[in-house]
Amino acid sequence: MSRKLQYSLAINEAIHQMMEVDSSVFFIGQGVKSPWYVGNTATGLLEKFGSERVIDTPVSENAVTGAAVGAAIAGMRPIIVHPRMDFMLYALDPIINEAANWHYMFGGKSSVPVVIWGIINRGGEQAAQHSQAFHALFAYVPGLKVVMPSTPYDAKGLMIAAIKDNNPVIYIDDRWLYKTEEHVPEEPYIVPIGKGVVRKHGKDITVVSVSYMAVEAVKAADTLKEKGIDAEVIDVRTVKPLDYALIFESVKKTGRLVIADVGWKSFGFAAEITAAVCEKAFKYLKAPVGFVTLPDAPAPASSALEEIYYPCSDSIIKAIEGVV
């Protein structure tokens, strides 16, 4: 009954199930036949669906992403994977100029049901070009949806939702989550795009978190519970469209807000939530907003610097203690 599944295998199961039921779904990208890049997220796909629908590619991000976008325009539902988000930057034109704008600029006459999947793969002294999280950059662009599951359950449900969505969806996962495990239903299901979730209810402070930081936020909240601070943890799950209502409702109750992001501080996810709360829920705030983000610097290689570059549950605890 209660079957457990790893985060990475939950994604894998979503792709298997969608490719089974919908012949317009295909899977393309660098490394889809090698565990080097995409971990075990592609396990068994090539064997089951063949190289017509599971396509490993040369190092040609721009063209291959464009091809996925074009195939979507022509009626397919491609999933294009980038084993690191950093490599996706070569594909900014097809993603932003084309896919994001397409439906609008043609007056709704053509749509782009493509899943553009970028993996955050940081740490390990890989440094600046192999560590970046660009959710805020994509969320900035009208016409793109951006999802960032933090649990195996959501990883599967959001992948299925992304594949079924009629718009370009940027699906962003984090290699640091791949080994997490929990109950995942065997049958296909959807986690609705645009709906956040309260991971832990509390009354003293709201922590709005995303992706890997949602895991750290729950850890932080558990620790703080022992210290008598009752934090509410929201995992937004979808960055765009963001579940503002859920955030406002929580802030209304707690009056305090800390934001925990996997990206940089300025002009990003944390800044957007702060802006929205200032705009719509200002009167409930009893203290300044606390930020847990990356510093505004590229990722360093040296582990001596990595240690302090990446925030963790302790950073969240500190931020919470700073505003309660």
Binding site: W36, Q129, H130, S302
Partner: protein, 336 residues
């Protein structure tokens, strides 16, 4: 190796150049191989793409350049960096994440630089430096510096559109740049036949009216001879030149071997690996130098001992160096 051809080339070279090339090749090999144990032990944490087996290209190309000439590199650039004159202590320190590293521990193995030696930057975005190299060549053309730029990239980079845009622009502006493609037949797990309809990378240059060549990248003398001519062309304002160097990596795509994540994922056939081991550029050159009396076995032993000492000292330097100060995490984002 075609010994007659090599002998012919070597006649036009000084003995000291031959020895210098041998010395540098062995230095790169021993330096690369010294990293294998620390990588396996987890002492080296950053991803290292070793260039064992590809030394003849770095050495033959860089031997044909002056110190002021520029090179740009890739994720697999330890050899380029050393061959162009980058310091080994600073390389090892960088790989160990130390403040004394060539990128002050911010970059690791995949981000090497030595501006005073013309090593302008090596980065792991595939194709990432090709257009930058074009820009450096453009700068030296504008400044009339008589300086050549070499853009090193792998066969994998031939998949990126930026290569084609760069070739066209460099050709249009007759820039003094050598496009140096190291074709080691693989782009990570992908054999070249799964990346290109035909294994003919050098022909790409032809469509842009760029003189294009293919050469045995495991024969340092041929590499040197051809690159030397290309450098002359560039300096006579007849650039660019495209050269494809055929080679093979003797180590994994990243790390000691391709045995990643507990699976034997090296899809390279064993007999292919064995075949290329026989074409080891260092062994080839050693054999040539011995048979033609340029060096004796004893000479080689002495050289090897000296390099081993140099490698040891590089590790001592790295180990005795401090890590970057935590307070300096956000330094260097902008130049003050």
């Amino acid at each position: 190796m075609n010994f007659n051809k090599s002998l012919q080339i070597s006649r036009s070279l000084s003995k000291s150049l031959l020895i210098k090339m041998y010395w540098t090749m062995l230095k790169i090999r021993l330096c690369e191989e010294s990293l294998v144990e620390p990588i396996i032990q987890g002492e080296v944490k950053c991803p290292c793409h070793l260039c064992s087996g590809q030394e003849a290209i770095a050495v033959g190309v860089c031997a044909s350049l002056d110190e002021k000439d520029y090179i740009f590199g890739t994720h697999r650039s330890h050899g380029h960096y050393l061959a162009k004159g980058g310091g080994m202590p600073e390389l090892i320190a960088e790989i160990y994440g130390k403040q004394t590293g060539c990128s002050r521990g911010r970059g690791g193995s995949m981000h090497l630089i030595a501006p005073d030696k013309g090593v302008m930057g090596a980065v792991p975005i595939v194709g990432g430096t090709i257009s930058l190299a074009v820009g450096a060549a453009l700068a030296s053309k504008i400044r009339k510096e008589n300086r050549v730029t070499v853009s090193f990239f792998g066969d994998g980079a031939s998949g990126e559109g930026v290569l084609y845009e760069s070739l066209n622009f460099a050709s249009l502006k007759r820039l003094p740049i050598i496009f140096a493609c190291e074709n080691n037949l693989y782009s990570t797990h992908m054999p070249i036949k799964e990346c290109r309809s035909k294994n003919n990378i050098f022909e790409i240059g032809n469509s842009f009216c760029i003189p294009s060549y293919r050469v045995d990248g495991n024969d340092v003398l041929k590499v040197y001879e051809l690159t030397k001519k290309a450098v002359e062309k560039c300096k006579e304002n007849k650039g660019p030149v495209f050269i494809e160097f055929m080679t093979y990596r003797l180590r994994g795509h990243v790390g000691a071997d391709d045995n990643i994540q507990g699976n034997r994922t090296d899809i390279r056939p064993n007999d292919e690996i064995e075949e290329w081991k026989r074409k080891d550029p260092l062994k080839k050159f050693e054999k040539f130098l011995l048979e033609n009396g340029f060096l004796t076995k004893e000479n080689m032993e002495i050289i090897k001992k000296e390099i081993e000492e140099e490698v040891r000292n590089a590790y001592v330097f790295a180990q005795n160096s401090p890590y970057p100060e935590k307070s300096e995490l956000i330094n260097h984002v902008f130049k003050e």
